[in-house]
Amino acid sequence: MFDQLALLGTGLVNTFDPLNFSMILVGLVVGILAGALPGITMLNAIVLVLPFTYLMGIVPSLLLMTSVYCGGVFGGSITGILFNIPGDPMNVPTTWEGYQLNKKGFVSKALGMAIMCSAIGGFLSALIMTFVSPPFAKVALSFSSCEYFSVVFLGLVSVVVIGTRSLGSALISLFIGMFLGTVGMDDIYGAVRFTFGSRIMETGINFTTVLIGLFAIGEVLDQLSVKSKGEGEIIRTRPKTTLPRFAEIWGLRNTVLRGLGIGTIIGAIPGTGATVASFVSYGVEKQVSKTPEKFGTGVWEGLAASETSINASTGGAMIPLLTLGIPGSGATAVMMGAFLLHGIQPGPLLFSKSPESVYTIFVGMLVCNLIMILAGLITAKFFSELMRVPENILCAFIITFCLLGAFALRNDMADVWFMAAFGVVGYFMRRYALPIPPMILGIILGPLSEKYFLTTMIGAGNDFTIFFRRPVSGCLMVISIVLLLMPFLRTLGKRGRKRPEAA
């Protein structure tokens, strides 16, 4: 324990070295900006800063990359709240609530709440990472495809709780999304599905193109095509980000703690990450809420749950990387590359060979999440300035950014075509009240669930009961089924209460 504290002290001194500290600042701003621009993902930003780390030492390199990582996962929430354009798929649940809060006139507070919850989630998960990394990593590693499927299934179940008046419409949207996820080359058997002979379709439909199209282009068309605007029009003033008061955060403490737990655990499971964490966290939050019907209309709990879990997943994702040398996501894989570039092999030996570097990363992440409040405020102010830009100019540039964002994914015009097509689809889905979020959920989690389901079935000889026989998977499946049945149980409960009253 004393050694650990001494190493933390060394880490603290290293972190506040001028070069290291400036790397944190630069990384946060780059990460938040990259995360906020649709199409330029946090992963793109980490890859972009990688060449700059060649000339640096290992500590500033890793601090730069971890701060880009932490800033990047938060950045997409800013444009999600301001313009209904989530920078990354992980920011979609934040957008559902944040944009509605914006429409209600709470944009300043929504931005502030997103910043605070991100910082709290990231800080506490980094703290967890500092003290419980090794045992945590062992548990996460014991997960097989069976448990992965159960986690993803839990995410899919959240469609039942996604704000929509009609469960039938939500399920249609979800299954269409899941079906779109099957287009292209199948991961397990290598079969080509529903491509109509087109080579472009073989690589599948990238979910980011669907995301950008449905949300951003659909929204622009919807806003500009309306002749006379009603009360729902966004108040186009320059919002000033207002950080929430302590009492407001304290009021959401249970939500934040649930988001922290879900984010850290899911983040630590290789292959899942922040996107699954944010969907699961949002879904769980709605299920435990006393007013679940209000979700999707601008609810603070929904925003806080999603934001906390997204940044909590960053601490979780670092656990298997540092303790076992296993990158669980694209971002941590690039970071592993940076370790290797400097001749350091992440894994159990890292703690004995370069403990100072490890503890500097730990402290760096803690500091990074604290400074993120400041960096978030500055960046949010910059993006808020855009709210003063006239609607016709802003919308034209949003479309251009979307076209560029879709192209940047794979440098392929096919993605731009898909994005434009889904933009038109998104507009009509809005007009005909077919909910968009379930489709996004389906196209993101559908391919993952298929992969884990079929892998499990191959290993278990098509025995479906395997999902209930393994303890962790069984618990997750039971939780999912309970969540799935909860709306029906609530309805039954309401009927039961009405009967005695009527009598």
Partner: protein, 185 residues
């Protein structure tokens, strides 16, 4: 009691209900078609394997069942639906021509980006789209289109190293000349 329940439903004409049913019916027909296509996937499953068609077929079956549920929801709520719609007020009126022009412009921008190159296609798109969206003043319109395109070129080509489409034929040379003038390459 029964008359009050039947009341609103009786006043509803069947027209809007059939309109609402078109969506689920159309999706159902497409689902059946794709289910048929899924049966033709060229990868017969090995022994004790579910095969590549299993997952999409399962989704499509769920989708078919759900279309049936949705149709039931529509028929069940026909009276309530009309009452809700009246309470919520009419949807904002849409300028159909403007909408159609905007959709065509987005498609045209994607199409021409590959042919005339990103800089020119983007400049024209910004210029025309902002004009259609209601920006009337000529100088701001022109300046925003030019400066916006230059800013995007610097950001994406110079900073992010994104090889944006340069266009075909002489448009390719034109884009390269523009890049040189702007010191992008």
């Amino acid at each position: 009691m029964s008359s009050s329940k039947a009341g609103p439903a009786q006043n509803v004409s069947l027209g809007p209900i059939w309109k609402s049913l078109i969506g689920p019916l159309l999706i159902l027909l497409l689902t059946i078609y794709f289910y048929f296509l899924a049966g033709k996937i060229d990868e017969p499953p090995g022994p004790e394997q579910l095969g590549a068609a299993f997952w999409p077929k399962m989704i499509l079956i769920f989708l078919m069942v759900d279309c049936r549920i949705k149709a039931g929801e529509i028929l069940k709520a026909r009276g309530i639906r009309d009452a809700e719609a009246t309470q919520a007020g009419p949807l904002p009126e849409v300028d159909t021509l403007k909408l159609a022009v905007m959709i065509v412009m987005i498609i045209a921008a994607v199409y021409f980006m590959d042919i005339i190159g990103f800089p020119l296609a983007n400049f024209l798109f910004l210029l025309l789209f902002m004009r259609i969206a209601g920006l009337r003043k000529k100088v701001p319109l022109l300046l925003t289109s030019i400066l916006g395109t230059v800013f995007l070129l610097y950001l994406f080509v110079k900073v992010v190293y994104l090889p944006l489409p340069k266009g075909q034929w002489f448009f390719d040379d034109m884009t390269i000349i523009l890049y040189r003038i702007l010191h992008i390459i």
